[in-house]
């Protein structure tokens, strides 16, 4: 990755990388190592005394039923959000792929929710479903559904899932449509001549050929659901009612900043780091594979 023709050693390259490296060291590496260290300590809430306890925080977490519930909840939440956001985007992209006139207009109208901040998205959805005023809560009431996400854990979960999936459709749509349009038209035409209808062509040609994109999006969507939905949850439910929507990231924040359990929060951070590392590795292995395809 070094250029064949390049400059020799001098002080200059060090100066060039210095800003990036200093920021990385001060705001990434150092805090992450602090998190590692703190995860081995038990500290009282005022920071007056601390005790080195090895892996006690992790053992506490492993034996903690609540933490396991959070894990299960996060898995359910991520899979549902990824599933809904990807399935709807796939249908829309398959439709948009057929259209020649006005395709760009449709794309324009579909992609902008990407730009809406998660917490703003949360505000919109919480307003539409406000138990006393919300337009959807009102409509649901008419058909006999008693909507109150402030009391019902399932309804709260449904609400954050909808808000999170809504925001992610735009992103998935863009990638799906790009993948579909890169499939050579001759393949589709050959299949059509052989008598394959649009539905058959989609399942036997288009869908298998966009598998790398689907897989890539799956990883990205899971990462999104794990980390970027913090704003949505914070705005809509604050993890409630009774922790029904508290996912891992939210628990790190809640235990650390609200509960002031620094060791426990740090141990959870470390577990999250391991998850991110695993997801990043999967993503990069996929990219290597993809290079082979093209």
């Amino acid at each position: 990755m070094l250029k064949r023709v390049h400059f020799g050693t001098s002080i200059l390259p060090f100066l060039l990388v210095a800003p990036q490296i200093i920021i990385t060291l001060v705001f990434f590496i150092w805090p992450a190592s602090q998190a590692l260290y703190q995860s081995l300590l038990i500290e009282d809430a005022f920071g007056l005394s601390r005790e080195f306890v090895w892996f006690e925080n992790f053992i506490d977490l492993a034996g903690n039923g609540l933490y396991f519930d959070t894990f299960r909840r996060t898995a359910f939440f991520s899979v549902t959000v990824a599933g809904i956001a990807m399935a709807s985007a796939l249908v829309l992209a398959a439709m948009a792929d057929r259209i020649i006139k006005g395709a760009l207009t449709y794309r324009t109208l579909l992609i902008w929710p990407y730009a809406v901040a998660p917490v703003v998205a949360g505000a919109l959805w919480v307003f539409m479903f406000d138990p006393t005023l919300g337009i959807f809560a009102y409509a649901l009431n008419i058909i006999g559904v008693d909507w109150n996400h402030k009391l019902s854990g399932d309804q709260a979960m449904a609400l954050v899932v909808m808000a999170s999936a809504w925001k992610q459709i735009a992103y998935n749509f863009l990638f799906f449509i790009a993948a579909m349009q890169s499939i050579p038209k001759s393949l589709i035409e050959a299949a059509a001549i052989d008598g394959a209808g649009p539905v058959k062509r989609f399942f036997t040609i288009i869908f298998p050929l966009i598998t790398p994109t689907t897989f890539f999006l799956l990883v990205v969507n899971v990462v999104y659901a794990f980390f970027d939905t913090f704003g949505i949850i914070h705005a809509v439910t604050q993890g409630g009612p009774a922790k029904a929507t508290e996912i891992l990231v939210y628990k790190v924040f809640n235990d650390g900043f609200v509960g002031l359990d620094l060791g426990g929060s740090a141990a959870q951070s470390v577990i999250l780091m391991i998850i991110v590392i695993a997801l990043t590795v999967i993503q990069f292995r996929y990219i290597e594979k993809k290079v082979e395809y093209s």
Partner: protein
Amino acid sequence: MIEHRPFITFLAHFTLIIGIAIVAFPIWVTFVAATHDAVRMTQVPLPMLPGDQFFINLKKALFEGIGGAGGIPVGMMMLNSLVVALMIATGKIIISLLSAFAIVYFKFPFRMAFFWMIFLTLMLPVEVRILPTFEVVADLGMLNSFWGLSIPLIASATATFMFRQVFLTVPDEMLEAARVDGAGPMRFFFDILLPLSRTNIAALFVILFIYGWNQYLWPLLITTDASMFTVVMGIKQMLEAAEQAPEWHLIMMTALLAMLPPVVVVLTMQRMFVKGLTETDK
């Protein structure tokens, strides 16, 4: 189109229109809410058609404070957001350009170590190192400041990778020619590499501006002074206050204002946006 099947074409348009309606419906509700007065917004069912209070609400939100957000006008929060988003976007681009240049064009000790160190930042999102990063920023006295809001977020592995990719496609003859003409490294960087990366810089800027504008958790942690609130944070403060006295017409007006700049950026620079999105993430 492969074959002429009007029904399927109709179905495609129909599905897309339904999809767009679903995607756009929350925005319509928001817009309608922002055009009514406080009294109408407490009567069930809420209106589905716009009222005539839009400009009154706009003026109130932009220039007067709203309860719950420390009485800070939304206009000022938007200014804060703009400063933070611009600082993050330009900061990320500058330091990533420089480090990619060093890594691709120079042979120097620890080159690969630096590269992997930058790569590591990909695996450490703010969310997993919340507390210790907060402590660092507090120790450096950067709480409640634009520096604290932006600097900890401007290290960027993805941007560095993207520029590295771009630089690797620049033919070696460029550097040879520049050398023959007597150009030093920085002259080469400014006169050849920068102009060649112009579209990539623009594409990245669009993505990073949105990223910076939409930051939430980090500003939430390090700003306690209401005059440093960003508009995205302000929304949350208003929602909390809405538990007691809902001012939905103003909250929804603020939501509209908060999403306006990034949405406008996406729509007006769509080509750059799509390029930036597909190239940084892949």
